[in-house]
């Protein structure tokens, strides 16, 4: 999607789906799916941070796991380091196939009797896709794609010393002898701002911030190219959060890491990331460069999300869009546009047809019927350019 000539792409996800089966009934048969992630596509480039925003239960965490293949995906592909021309080809292929062919070009069954486009896709997938690699190839890749977890308390084994925790990836990949590993652990601890003597302690002796540092050190151990940051600061205090964020930024500048920064906290995302992807109920509703998104959010959900953020300044009084109701369950997502049940600008079409991703200006994509229909969309977008809270009028 994003063809702007810039850093090479580390991971390119295309139509990634993850459905969790629901079992029920007399013989606990398969009665439905929780559509945690539903045909999501995104690129993550070297040295840049992609923010992934959404409320709880929108599938952002699952997406992070699936991208690293910690969970096996239902369908779709995640290409590791595709060259730009491959990317271009991919986009053309997918556009030719239409968006919802993720299932047929699945990781599981290589399309046997399928149109040439699919065959081509398969070849590319066999070459680049994570989901086509066998366990050993995957294990070699693990070191380069790392993850930092949300909860700093359950993410460190209570019975291992910090030294063992941080050195574990090294041990797994048999890098260096014990002494070298200890040296490496020391420098890692320094990188995340911990003292050497900390390596002789148990995790439970540390505060949340320090634990999170340890987690980051573990992730850095194998010199990764990309780290999925799964709400790394949502369990921390603001002052400590700032420390962690700064550390992450510094590391990115030093080592040119790519981050996928998952968070429900828009302001943190804004502080961290270059591009932002907004998810709602397993679908991407809007993706744009950070400034673009925050200056002119197009999707009503994004607008509501933005206006819902409390601003630490009693003097600024803004009119806020308060969404009615709760997030529907991903087990039974609403028909058509999944947001239409809560949308302030809902139109009759929304409940019927699912909106396509449409480009609105410099790699700013939004999936909303306000913008899909050209004439209406034009007015709507120009409206929502001016005022965030105007979305309802845009509908009428």
């Amino acid at each position: 999607m994003d063809n702007s000539p810039s850093h090479p792409v580390v991971l390119a996800a295309r139509n990634v789906r993850k459905y969790f089966p629901i079992r029920g009934g007399l013989f606990s048969s398969h009665v439905g799916d929780v559509r945690a992630v539903d045909s999501v596509s995104m690129d993550i480039r070297e040295g840049e941070t992609v923010g992934l925003v959404g409320e709880s239960g929108c599938g952002k965490t699952t997406l992070g796991r699936v991208l690293l293949r910690l969970i096996e995906p239902t369908s779709g592909h995640c290409y590791y380091r595709p060259t730009p021309e491959i990317l271009a080809k991919l986009d053309s292929l997918y556009s030719s196939l239409g968006s919802d062919n993720g299932a047929s070009s699945s990781a599981k069954h290589a399309g046997a009797s399928s149109p040439p486009a699919l065959k081509e896709l398969d070849e590319i997938a066999n070459q680049y896709s994570l989901y086509r690699r066998n366990q050993r190839q995957m294990r070699d890749l693990r070191g380069r794609l790392q993850i930092v977890f949300q909860d700093p308390f359950s993410s460190l084994s209570p019975r291992l010393l910090v030294r063992e925790v941080v050195a574990e990836p090294l041990e797994i990949h048999h890098t260096g002898n014990r002494r070298e590993r200890d040296q490496r652990v020391l420098e890692l601890l320094q990188q995340v701002g911990l003292n050497p003597e900390h390596m002789w302690r148990f995790p439970h002796e540390f505060s949340g911030g320090q634990r999170q540092r340890i987690g980051i050190a573990r992730a850095l151990a194998l010199r990764p190219e990309m780290i999925v940051l799964d709400e790394p600061t949502s369990a921390l205090d603001v002052s400590v959060q700032a420390q962690i964020l700064n550390i992450l930024k510094r590391l990115q500048d030093e080592q040119g890491l790519a981050y996928l920064f998952i968070s429900h906290h828009l302001s943190v995302v804004r502080a961290m990331s270059k591009r932002v992807v907004v998810m709602y109920l397993g679908k991407v509703v809007e993706t744009a460069p950070t400034d673009g998104l925050f200056s002119r959010p197009l999707h009503p959900y994004t607008q509501a999300l933005l206006s819902a953020i409390p601003i630490p300044d009693p003097t600024t009084k803004r009119e806020r869009i308060v969404l009615s109701g709760d997030v529907p369950s991903p087990a039974a997502p609403p028909s058509g546009c999944r947001f239409h049940t809560r949308c302030p600008a809902v139109m009759p079409i929304c409940s019927k047809i699912e909106p396509e991703m449409t480009a609105m200006g410099q790699d700013h994509f939004v999936a909303c019927h306000l913008y899909s229909a050209p004439k209406e969309g034009g007015s709507a977008s120009s409206d929502s350019l001016t005022m965030v809270s105007e979305a309802p009028r845009a509908a009428s």
């Binding site: 910690l70 693990r142 209570p158 990836p169 797994i172 002494r179 050497p196 003597e197 302690r201």
Partner: protein, 380 residues
């Protein structure tokens, strides 16, 4: 306290491989602190230590370790005045008995004059202290003191053997079930359901009943008994371990290990095992006490677990002495037309019963204290 000493020891500790870092010791001390605060647990620990000592002494104690020795009776005495409490008397072999009904214990330990009781309308005879009668028709009095001491080796060996082997089997199956899940899990859990729904006592009985006929040598029989009990015990452990593994498997640190490419074996070894095995220890220490109890019960309902009836194993001794006391002394005495004063022959089953009771209760006190000390929620 932790805050104080850790940096110190960490700094003086060279950042090289090798030594046990003292945090582990600190954790142990923490557990011990909470254990120590639990009075009952400390009592249990004390009694347990006594039993360990008994176990060791039982090997050097000069008595027959494979069967109980009958008393040599010097018989023919008048009924002693007091019906309930026997009087102590000691004499060495060769000496003249100081009192008519004095019994010589083979090891020269103090023996006693027991009150005389009507055995049957015909014969009069005494009941020595700590005796075990096997069948009402012609009484033989065995020395249960030596038996209890010697029985320590058998009982404790059997109990520990049962629990350890059962735990090994159970842990293995439980971990497999919990970690791999799916069909394996289903099969193993159904299996545990099946075994758990058969009352344990009966399961042991039927296994023993089928095979006991063909196995007569003492050691083989001991192994058979252990096997029979393991059949009963593994499912409990499997259940416990599985539930723990299911919890630990979902922890983030396991996922982190996966994320850095750890294989299943390593995750099991490094993360899942150490974090999910503690409850089993508690359960094990609870069960050690129940094995002799079960053996005693089986013997009591009339099934002879061991090839010889006067086998020095706590359960057996207790069961037989209770039977003897009730069926033989008590009922006979109460219902005999000669003496219609019932006597309560407590000295016959008191010491075997006490041994069983103390063993079981000390172990369970210990286990309970251990659980409280290990489980942060139950700490105080």
């Amino acid at each position: 306290m932790v805050e104080e000493e850790l940096p110190a020891q960490a700094i003086e500790k060279p950042v090289r491989r090798g030594r046990r870092p003292s945090p582990r010791w600190d954790q142990f001390r923490r557990t011990w602190y909470f254990f120590r605060r639990n009075t009952l647990a400390m009592i249990g620990l004390g009694i347990l230590i006594f039993f360990v000592a008994l176990f060791i002494t039982s090997f050097i104690y000069p008595a027959n370790s494979t069967e109980l020795i009958p008393y040599e009776a010097t018989n023919g005495a008048a009924p002693s005045p007091n019906p309930i409490f026997p009087q102590v008397c000691t004499y060495q072999p060769g000496e003249v008995p100081p009192a008519p009904n004095c019994y010589l214990t083979p090891t020269g330990l103090p023996s006693v004059i027991a009150p005389t009781v009507a055995l049957s309308p015909a014969t009069l005879g005494p009941l020595p202290f700590g005796s075990l009668t096997l069948n009402p028709t012609e009484p033989i009095f065995y020395n249960t003191f030596d038996g209890l001491i010697k029985g320590a080796q058998w009982s404790i060996t059997i109990s520990v053997g049962v629990v350890v082997s059962g735990a090994i089997l159970g842990i293995f199956l439980g971990v497999v079930a919990g970690f791999y899940g799916g069909a394996v899990d289903e099969v193993i859990m159904r299996l545990t359901d099946i075994f758990l729904s058969i009352p344990g006592l009966l399961l042991v009985i039927i296994v023993l009943a089928v095979f006991a006929g063909s196995i007569t040598s003492t050691w083989d029989r001991v192994f058979l008994v252990i096997g029979a009990f393991v059949v009963v015990w593994w499912p409990t452990y499997a259940r416990i371990v599985r539930s723990q593994v299911l919890v630990v498997r979902e922890q983030r640190y396991v996922e982190a290990a996966k994320a850095s490419g750890a294989r299943g074996g390593r995750i099991l070894r490094k993360h899942i095992m150490p974090n999910s095995i503690y409850p089993v220890f508690v359960q094990m220490s609870l069960d050690v006490g129940t094995v002799p109890l079960l053996i005693a019960a089986i013997v009591f309902i009339g099934f002879h677990v061991f090839p010889i009836l006067n086998f020095p194993e706590w359960g057996t001794i207790t069961a037989f002495s209770v039977q003897g006391a009730v069926l033989y002394s008590f009922i006979e005495a109460c219902q005999s037309s000669i003496t219609n004063t019932c006597i309560f022959p407590w000295w016959q089953f008191f010491f075997p019963g006490l041994t069983l009771f103390l063993f079981a209760i000390s172990v369970s006190f210990f286990a309970d204290g251990l659980r409280d000390a290990l489980d942060p929620r139950l700490r105080r």
